[in-house]
Amino acid sequence: MIPAVQKTNSDSNNVFSSIAFNALASLDNNGHLAEIIDQRNWSALQSSLETVFSPGLWFNLTVYDENMTPLNTAPICSGSPISNHIEAADYLCASMNANYAVYTIRLQLSGLN
């Protein structure tokens, strides 16, 4: 099987990676994203992404701890990719509560161009 092409948000003109990055930054406003991760509430995280992205977009999100160990035990995605063109964005978020934690979030996004 030929692997799908994955680009990162370092490439210019990557619409999906920009959308992914901005969506994560928006969700993290007021610490909401980190709060959900602190609670390990993966279903709430999936619901938040489904609210942000239209059904025409496919997403797959992985949360890593400071040692880059994946934290989400269940996949946080919306079915199967609808295109071989997949872009990804990395986002760093930190919890605001007194018990500090920092997470790296990798969000893959795909859609029909």
Binding site: S10, D11, A25, E66, C93, A94, N97, A98, V102, T104
Partner: protein
């Protein structure tokens, strides 16, 4: 001879232009706040400082500020595959801050919990590079004042107004707890059956009953506000009889 000299001068000028153009391509770009990547780093920086302030204001070790910032720095510098980043930070030692922290819980009704840190971020990506210096101040503060009126021979109603601020803007309180000191007993008594009205603009009016106090006794009260982001501020003041 003149033609050759002209050609040499032209080539020199042209090469200078090419050199300057190439140098400009490699120079870091100073970006405005609108850059999404930089804005995101700033946002995460603010969250890191709020976490440290919440921890310290709840009695945590002051060293948690540096510890948390080093963890953030490590995550930023090591785990981003799309850019090479370097983050430096300096905790402010300008008065009234010490090692970036200023906790001033006073007896005049005005108290502050605050952190102030200066950052320098150098980031190099495939498509752009930038350098940014920015300072972040996270400050939670409250202003409290109160009065009391006798409601009968054995009870007085105390009314306390608390204004909550984050970065000098009205903010929400997550939890307000009040204590009072009755008749110079030097023991703080938790206020019970406290009725708190939230005006929705950072102003809270709390009322509760206390027992008999001496005529015109300046009733000491203590207010603990944990704001919506988890930062704690204590302040003491006295209530005058109306």
């Amino acid at each position: 001879m003149l033609i050759i000299t002209s050609l040499v001068v032209a080539i020199l000028l042209l090469s200078t232009v090419v050199y300057v153009t190439e140098i400009e391509k490699n120079a870091p770009v100073y970006v405005a706040d609108g850059d999404s990547s930089l804005s995101a780093v700033k946002q995460t920086t603010v969250h890191t400082l709020v976490s440290a302030l919440a921890n310290i204001s709840m009695g945590g070790n002051r060293g948690v500020l540096t510890d948390d910032l080093n963890r953030f720095k490590s995550a930023l510098e090591n785990h981003r595959y799309n850019a090479i980043s370097e983050l430096d930070f300096t905790a402010s030692n300008s008065a009234p801050y010490s090692d970036g922290i200023w906790i001033n819980w006073s007896n005049n009704g005005k108290s502050v919990s605050s952190i102030f840190v200066v950052f320098a971020l150098n980031s190099t990506g495939n498509s752009a590079s930038y350098y940014s210096e920015y300072a972040i101040n996270v400050t939670s503060s409250i202003i409290s004042s109160g009065t009391y009126v006798p409601v009968n021979e054995s009870q007085n109603q105390v009314t306390v107004t608390c204004n909550v601020f984050n970065e000098d803007e009205p903010a929400s309180a997550g939890n307000l707890t009040l204590y009072y000191e009755q008749n110079d007993t030097a023991a703080w008594v938790p206020a019970t059956s406290t009725n708190i009205i939230d005006w929705g603009n950072g102003t809270y009016v709390a009322s509760f009953l206390v027992g008999t106090v001496a005529q015109n006794y300046p009733l000491p009260i203590s207010v603990n506000c944990v704001d919506a982001r988890g930062v704690s501020v204590w302040t003491n003041t006295t209530c005058v009889q109306k």
